[in-house]
Amino acid sequence: MIIIGAGEGGTRAAFALREAGYDGTITLVGAERHLPYERPPLSKEAMTSTDAPAIKAIADAARLKEHRIDLVGTTTATSIDRANRSVRLTNGSDLEYDKLLIATGATPRRLPLAGLGSRCVYLRTFDDALAIRSHLGPGCRIAIVGGGFIGLELAASARKLGADVTVIEAQSRILMRGVPEDIATVVHETHATEGVDIVCGDGIATINDRADGVRITLASGLQVTADLAIIGIGAVPVTTLAETAGLTLNNGIAVDAQLRTSDPLIFAAGDCCSFPLAVYGGRRVRLEAWRSAQEHGALAARNMLGSEEALACVPWFWSDQYGLSLQIAGLPDEGERTVRRDLDDGAFILFHLKEDGRLVAASGIGPGNAVARDIRLAEMLIAKSARPDIGALAAPSVKLKSLLAA
C-alpha cells in the first residue's frame, strides 16, 4: 500500500490500515522534512508559545516503527503510472502499489498580483510558521490579507505578541464563507476590542514589497504599510499528480462515497478531494477540516482493504481566537431558518433548520469549550435527520441529549 502525502489524512490512513489488520508494507511518502504533524496549532499555540515553536507530531518515529509504517520524507511523488501500478519519486525510485491513496492536501491560494516579494508570505506548513514567527514581536506592523479563519487566528496570535495588526477583507464582512453573520459579528467585535484594525469591503489595488515595508493600496485609496503581509485568501487542492495521471477532477480529485477516484485502485482523502455528503442528499463538497481528513483517512484505509463502506459523517470544524472558541457542525448554508440558544457567559448556538424542521447544521461561539457539548449533540441529531422541537432547542434548560433519545 502506498500513501502519497504524510499529513493528517495520509498518516491516519497508515495507522488505520494496521488497525484493520493489514500486514503488508505501508509506504508513506511526504514532501516535508518533518515527522507527520498537526497543522491547526500553526496559527494558534505554535505562534504564541514562549518556547521555540515545535511541531506537534501526529506520530513519533517509535510509533511509526512499531506499526511498520515506512515514512519516506523530504520526497515528492512526481507521477503515477496507472498501467504498471507504480509511483515515481523525486529520489529516482519507482514504487509499485496494489492500492494507492492520494492525500496531498491543499496549498494556499496565491494573490494574483505583481509586486509580491519576500515579505509577502503564506501559511500552510511548519516551516512557513517558523518564518512568520520570526517576524512577530512588539510594535511590528502586520497586514493580514483575507478575513478567513487562518488570517483571523494569526491576527489574534500576532496581537498577543504585541504586533500592530490590520486585516484586509475584500468581502463586506469577515468569515463570509460558511459562518453565519451573528457569529462573525462576535469575532469581529472581539478583534476590534483587542485592537485589530479590520477593513472590510475593500479589495487590494496594488501591493509593493519595498525596502521600507510592504505598501498595500486598497481600491478605496487607503494605504497600509506593514513589515510583513500574510496572505490568507483560501486554499486550493493539490491535484497535479492526479490530473497528469488522468483521474477525474471536480473541485479537487473527484471521489465517490467510498473515497474511490475514477481509477478503482486509487483512493483520495482530505483537503485534496471532493466527495458526496450523504446527509445532504449527496451534495458534493470539498472540506478543509482536520477531523474530516482523519475520517477520510480511516475510511479510505478500510476500503483499500476491500471493505465497501460509504462515508456517513457530518462536517465539523473549530477555530480558536483569543479565549473564544467557535465550532460548526454541518453546513449552515443548508439551513432555511435559525433558532438561537443562549448559554452562560455570552456563549450561544444557532441551529440551522430546513423549512420542514429537519436540523441541518449548528454553529456556536463562546469562551473556552462552552459550546462544545451542545454542538456535538447537534451533530448527532443532524446525522439522524432529526426534527427536534424548536422550543427545546431554544431553551438552555432542556438537555439536547434528551432530544437524541426521542
Binding site: Q294, W316, N369, A370, R373
Partner: protein, 104 residues
C-alpha cells in the same frame, strides 16, 4: 496507601455525565455511568490540556470537548485519533451518598 478524599455528593453528578473535581492543585473528572456506577480519571485530556468535564459522556466513553478525542473512562483507554495516550484512573467508592476518590 493514601487516603480516600471526599469529592462531592453522589447526586451532584447526573447519570451518564461528568463533573470536574479539583484537589490539592490537581484536577480530576468524576463520572456516573448509565448503569449508575461511579468512576474517576485525570481531569485533562492527554492530547492538549483541556478539561474533560465539558465533554460528552456516552455509555462508557468520555469525548473531549476540544477535538473529540475519546477515552473509555472506566479503564482510561484512549479510543482513537487524535488521542493515543491513556488517561489515568482512580478508585472510587460511595459512602452515605458521598463520592470518595482514592488518590495515588
Amino acid at each position: 496507601m493514601s487516603d480516600w478524599i471526599e469529592a462531592c455528593a453522589a447526586d451532584d453528578i447526573d447519570e451518564e455525565d461528568v463533573i470536574r473535581f479539583d484537589h490539592a492543585g490537581r484536577t480530576f473528572a468524576l463520572y456516573r455511568s448509565p448503569e449508575d456506577e461511579f468512576f474517576a480519571t485525570d481531569g485533562l485530556c492527554t492530547h492538549e490540556q483541556i478539561h474533560l468535564s465539558q465533554g460528552l459522556v456516552m455509555g462508557d466513553i468520555i469525548e473531549c470537548p476540544k477535538h473529540n478525542g475519546r477515552f473509555n473512562y472506566k479503564t482510561g483507554a484512549a479510543r482513537g485519533a487524535p488521542v493515543c495516550v491513556n488517561l489515568r484512573t482512580y478508585p472510587v467508592k460511595i459512602d452515605a451518598g458521598k463520592v470518595f476518590i482514592q488518590l495515588g
